[in-house]
Every structure is written in C-alpha cells, then in structure tokens.
C-alpha cells in the first residue's frame, strides 16, 4: 500500500514484508527529494511526490494535465482549459493565481493539486468546483475526468481536452529533450541579463529555456548546430516554424510581440529541415495560423494534429 503524501511527509510502501523498505522519502515543499531512507535497499518505484509518477529521465512529475518540475518549483507548461479563457483558473482577487506556471499558487505547505489544474485545500474542493463549472457549462454535474471517461470519442469537448493535454505533454517532452531538466542557478537571471545585454528577445529566450543554466555561456557561444523552433504568440497560439543558427537575433522585440520561441530540437541542419517538414505535413499552412486556437479549429475540420514526434534520436 502506498501512503499518499502531501509535502515533506513520508511515503511508505507496505505491500512487501516489513523487512523490505521499498520507499521512505522526505520531500521539500515543492517536491525536491530531501532524504531517501530506503536508498540502500530501494525497489524501483516511480510514484513519488504527491503520489504522482516521476519520469526517471527528466525528473518531471506527471500531474495528469501537466508535468511539474520539482527542481524549478513550477509546471513546465501553463494551465489551460477546454473553454477559451484568457487566464484559465485565475481569480482576480488572488494575484498568485494569475501565474499559470506556478505550483499550487506558490503555497505548497497549504494546498495540493490533484490533477495539474486545480489547487485547493482538499482534493474534493477541486472536484466540487469542477462539477459546478461543468454544470454551468451544460456538461452535467460531473468532474472533468468523468466527462473524459464517459464522453464519446468524437465528442468535440473531449477531443479538445485531449488535444490540449497532448500539446502540454509534448511541450514538456521537447523542452526536456533539449534542456535536460536544467535549472537556473542562484543569480541565473543576472547572468542572463549580463549575457544578453539590452536585447530583450535574447533575455526572453534564455530565461524561458534556461540555456545559461543548462549550457553555460561557453555552450551557447560554441554550439555550431541549427535550432528548429516554433514561434508562438502571446497567448501560446501557433504562428510558424523555423530554423536558425542564431535564435537570439532572429526576431525583434516588436516582432515577438509578447510571444516567444519554443526550441523544439537542435542538430544538423538537414535533420532539422526534415523535422520541420514533418511538422508541416499534417496541418494546412496559411494566414489563419495566427488565430487563437488554430490547431483546435483545424482538428475540428478533420485534420490530424501535428505528429509531435520530433525529438532527435
């Protein structure tokens, strides 16, 4: 039996004889591992902080809707909702809720997040909130999970939710592939400022992806490969794909217009071109790409979502 933990509590597997210590771990409030009392006799067990599955390769915790990086104390992707909302799940009387990347509103000693969407004092509060919200939305008095489980495969709402989930997961995986669970160390943002001078685009790229933390200035200066990127608008909407050797100077701040570059892969130019072509294969290309919810609109028209399997081998 796994005893689910909140924070800084022990989780013990009692499904084995008492002589076997399978897992007994203390966590820091944001999920970092403090003490592992069973490290010597440990049986492989991937369910860790808050009972969520931790990816051994990236160290990210799967909260269902999103992946959380305990090393950063934040989610890897912003919160989202099936319905088009400017700031999903936010409440203007709680400024912490406006940060869509934050984990439980930066108050992990008090709150839990059962599914990556909703942080409340108790899990049932989240479910109750979801039930009322879905009821008001004409979906019946059901939780999001119940809707997903009972909706027909062709139900547009269920499809949209699933697509958003895939997109969130893929973004995490791609970021992880390139930047390996990096974290900006103490003073990391000052390093970025010094490195980028007054270039806001350079600063934006580095602070999003942590290249300084991952590669160091030398790594950035000496990497001689090509980057495949996605340019997204201020609301995360897809705008275009591109390849470059110098992402830090590719666009002006005005052209970024509050959006950002998501680095999808890096490597030899021919390979990056091949990956980019595969991304263009399943979606129409045109001026409508800048529309909010472009991918959702195309899926509703019957187009398959992008393949997303662009991680370099």
């Amino acid at each position: 039996m796994v005893l689910p933990s909140h924070v800084s509590q022990k989780k013990r597997d009692m499904g084995h004889p008492a002589t076997i210590c399978e897992q007994d771990i203390d966590y820091y409030p944001y999920g970092g591992q403090e003490n592992d009392y069973c490290s010597a006799t440990s049986v492989p067990q991937s369910y860790k902080f808050n009972g969520k599955e931790r990816d051994a390769e990236s160290g990210l915790d799967n909260f269902g809707a999103r992946y959380d990086a305990s090393s950063l104390g934040r989610f890897m992707t912003p919160d989202w909702s099936a319905a088009p909302l400017t700031v999903p799940g936010a409440s203007l009387d709680d400024p912490q809720s406006l940060n869509l990347y934050s984990y439980v509103g930066n108050n992990p000693l008090t709150y839990i997040d059962p599914d990556g969407h909703c942080w409340k004092l108790f899990g049932w509060a989240c479910n109750t909130y979801q039930r009322f919200a879905n009821w008001a939305d004409g979906e019946g008095f059901r939780t999001n999970k119940q809707i997903d489980n009972t909706s027909a495969k062709n139900d547009p709402r269920s499809q949209r939710r699933r697509l958003q989930e895939i997109k969130g997961t893929v973004s995490s995986q791609l970021d992880r592939t390139l930047h390996g669970g990096n974290a900006l160390g103490p003073g990391g943002r000052d390093e970025i400022r010094a490195f980028c001078g007054g270039n806001p685009v350079c600063y934006d790229i580095h602070s999003h992806f942590g290249w300084v933390g991952a590669f160091g200035n030398d790594r950035w200066a000496t990497f001689a490969g090509t980057y495949l990127y996605e340019k997204v608008g201020p609301n995360g909407e897809h705008l275009k794909y591109g390849i470059t050797d110098h992402p830090e100077t590719r666009y002006t701040a005005k052209e970024m217009n509050g959006g950002r570059l998501k680095i999808l892969a890096e490597g030899e130019r021919g390979k990056m071109l091949e990956l980019e072509r595969s991304l263009h294969e399943t979606m129409p290309i045109g001026p409508e790409e800048g529309q909010s919810g472009y991918i959702d609109i195309q899926v509703e028209k019957g187009y398959a979502p992008p393949p997303y399997d662009v991680s370099p081998e």
């Binding site: 340019k231 897809h238 275009k240 591109g242 390849i243 045109g286 800048g290």
Partner: protein, 102 residues
Amino acid sequence: MQYQLVVQFQANSREDFDRLVGFEQSLTKSLSGSAMVDGHDFGSGEFNIFVLTDSPSSTFERVRKEFAGRGEREDMRAAYRELGGEDYIILWPPGLKEFSVS
C-alpha cells in the same frame, strides 16, 4: 556580420515550402563567403529567408539575380536591419512603404 537581410515570399502550401527551401539552399551555395544564410521561417502565410551580411544591398542584388534565374514569379519582398535593431530599411520592391515579419 552586422546586418540581417530578410527575403520574404507569400507561401501557403507544402509546394511553396519545398520550392522556397530549394531556393534557400541554392542561395546558401551562391552566397557562401560574402554572406551567411541563417535559415528561414514558414507560417502565417509567409516564408522568410534570413541572411546575415555586412553589405545588405550588394547581397540582395545577388539574391535577386539568383531568384530571377529560376524563372519564378517575382512576389519577393526584401528589407534589412541592423542585428539587434528594430527598424527595417526596405530594398524591394520599389515603392514598398512597410515591411514586417509576422
């Protein structure tokens, strides 16, 4: 390289993508030494080829000749800016008042 030259085309299909990537690759060969083709972006109805150069006007002349030699429709726009700068100086077509990258 001090300047970024942007060569822009309208593009809305896979065929446009393959055609313009082919053009970009031919530019990479023909400009080698004097300028560096840094890549492209594709989406939102346009295809941009980005070239880093110290002499944008003469580099663009070579780009234009290369493009004309392919016998394709000339829907090309071009402008350059200082690396790190915000404002474009328009090179082509004559009379174009505004240039932007989406």
